[in-house]
Symmetry: C2
Subunit: 405 residues, 2 copies
């Protein structure tokens, strides 16, 4: 059985605490049996504009319901974000909703703001009540450790992780014409609903540049669509997914200045999430072009990515064009496949309804890399979408079948 080692990535020099106007902390509150950090706090010097996108799951967890409500009540002006890992506070009924509110109230009391200005996020096991004594003690401990140092930012990152095989962070500095620079920093956790009842993705992307709440709300949809909503790991959306975009406004630089950096930071985080997809050995970017619309391209790419046959072929470095094109043929969003061209790692393997002559051994070797490209040109229009998917190997089965509830 081939069990891949988790890849290693160099720590990112730009972290959330690099953003001026932001302090962070992360502590070990004892929620996790492992004793790893599990409560984190992020506090802005003053209320800052924030936009959020949340899971569409009907079982949206209590913190998701609360944070969505708080963004509305506060008009998107947020002072602090509190996170716990080790327990998702999902499927916990009214008690869960009271617990999430109590977390926000505790932070508000410390920071001196309204509970509406506090966002709450949880990730971990579903269906268990939060150990509130530990959670509240953890929040108190975070307050006393709040700092703008790089280490504090890393402690916050550690506190949002669950079964992540590696940390997920990205950042960029954007030079300003007038001198100085604006920063964009992002962190994320998640790799699919890995362990029993473990909930998925949290992502925080912030800048110390300028933005209004309206600008952030306009931008976050565009970014989410091409980053976190362009990741396919296991056809399973969690109850706790949350992506927050915020701007402390401490430096110059309008939204136009830093939005491209935010997009690439978010896309990098999304790639890292796919790369950590439960024993994944690589990320395959499925690029569908020439579809009747962008939405059609999106749905065609997902039809291909959802196939366990496709994902095991990617794991096995098997240039198995038959699995790829037949899934395109299954999509209701393709009118006609006569013009389909399938290109794998730059090699065209299928064209005009028939396979091409290609060297399978050479192409298989080209597939044994971290980042594989599968291009599907439909030839019906201008629709385009890029989907990042993990492969499906033995480790996936081990992680998901051996660890029982």
């Amino acid at each position: 059985m081939r069990l891949p080692d988790p890849p290693t990535f160099a720590p990112c020099p730009i972290t959330l605490t690099t953003l001026s106007g932001l302090r962070a902390a992360g502590v070990r509150a004892g929620i996790k049996a492992s004793g790893n950090p599990d409560v984190g706090l992020l506090v802005a010097d003053k209320p800052m504009p924030m936009a959020g996108v949340f899971t569409q799951n009907h079982f949206a967890a209590a913190p998701v319901l609360l944070s969505r409500k708080h963004l509305t009540l506060s008009g998107g002006m947020v002072r602090a974000m509190v996170v716990n890992s080790g327990n998702a506070n999902a499927c916990t009924g009214e008690r869960g909703e009271r617990d999430a509110l109590q977390m926000a109230q505790r932070v508000a009391a410390h920071v001196g703001c309204s509970a509406h200005e506090v966002i709450v996020a949880s990730t971990g096991v579903i269906g268990h009540k939060l150990p509130m004594d530990k959670v509240l003690a953890g929040i108190d401990a975070c307050v006393s450790e709040l700092s703008g140092e790089e280490e504090a930012g890393r402690n916050f990152l550690a506190a949002i992780q669950t079964t992540d095989a590696f940390s997920k962070e990205a950042g960029q500095a954007v030079a300003l014409t007038g001198g100085g620079s604006t920063h964009v920093a992002g962190i994320a956790k998640g790799a699919g609903m890995i362990e029993p009842n473990m909930a998925t993705m949290l992502a925080f992307v912030g800048t110390d540049g300028q933005a209004t709440v309206d600008e952030l709300n306009a931008l976050i949809g565009q970014i989410a669509r091409r980053s976190f909503n362009a990741v396919h790991v296991d056809s399973h959306t969690s109850t706790n997914d949350m992506f927050l975009l915020f701007a402390t406004g401490k430096t110059g630089g309008s939204t136009q200045t830093w939005s491209d950096a935010a997009m690439s930071v978010a896309r990098r985080l999304a790639w890292l999430i796919a790369r950590d997809g439960e024993g994944a050995t690589k990320v395959t970017t499925i690029t569908v072009t020439g579809a009747s619309s962008d939405e059609a391209a999106n749905l065609i790419a997902r039809e291909v990515a959802k196939s366990a046959l496709v994902r095991t072929a990617l794991f096995g470095n098997d240039p198995n064009w038959g699995r790829f094109v037949s899934q395109v043929g299954n999509s209701r969003h393709v009118k006609n496949v006569v013009n389909l061209t399938c290109t794998l790692q730059g090699v065209t393997v299928f064209k005009r309804g028939e396979p091409t002559q290609f060297n399978k051994v050479d192409l298989s070797k080209k597939m044994a890399v971290d980042d594989v490209s599968l291009e599907l040109h439909i030839g019906e229009g201008d629709g385009r979408f890029e989907l990042m998917t993990s492969d499906l190997g033995y480790k996936y089965v081990e992680v998901n079948a051996e660890y029982t509830t």
Copy 2:
């Protein structure tokens, strides 16, 4: 790594050749490298009514296109069926269409009927031209071996198989009020697109009872929906799927007499296909009830079945209610989940938005069987659907990743 042994099933006393009016043959034509039987022929004494459902894949193989056309041209009155395995004659262009027609013409010449009265089916590797010399020689050999003996029926069954771990057959006898009996017999092959570019499912269900083409066309949709279209193995539909329903009319017994038997024969074959799902260790029947419509129930069940997390939990005998209910929560066909009840092997594990208290160890033991029941009651209406799905284990990855193209 746990590699399950393929299960063994007692041979079915009723086979296709039990149906009076039908002769069969199966020979080794050398299309398969393994040397196993790979060309089969089924001939009726006289043209008989037949209905067929075929793959919806845009890459429908040449024999699918031809057989669909022949059913139309012949008004559904068919004299013979010729099958080859080892090569799907899919993605083979115009040459492939000529080859499929030539197979029908060769049979017609022997049997003394029009080529339109011959149905052609192929299963095997995609994208390779048929070795027509071997195929035609195989057809000739079949003609000389045609027989109504049980062994001939089994030879035909052997000739349609590819990577099936076990034979798939079912049959029933229906006693007639006036004495005597009518028979229903069925065979199938397929367990997902197992080997590289291997195409999927063929199913033949026949009776020696009475039926008109119109009656068969009305019946086949109902049967397919609750049998072969109620199987989920790998979210992958092949280019060659074909299900044929026919009646030789040699015995008494109207459609009403034998239609229930045909339904249970088809459902048994479908269960066997799910059971052979690429290293599957069990079949889980996901029963969605109380959905807003039957179609909604169907789509909710598929949302649950498509999750690799759900299927690995079933492999691991893990009563992982969080994975099951959160997938229901992901379905756009659920309005409200507050009334969702989830019952696994008769044990209610989730109710009114929260998990119940249940003994996980005992329930896990109850899941270690051939046939697992997962019931999801939505509480929105009367919609109902039963989906048979295989689990996802190490063997699946081995079969689909290790064997390279």
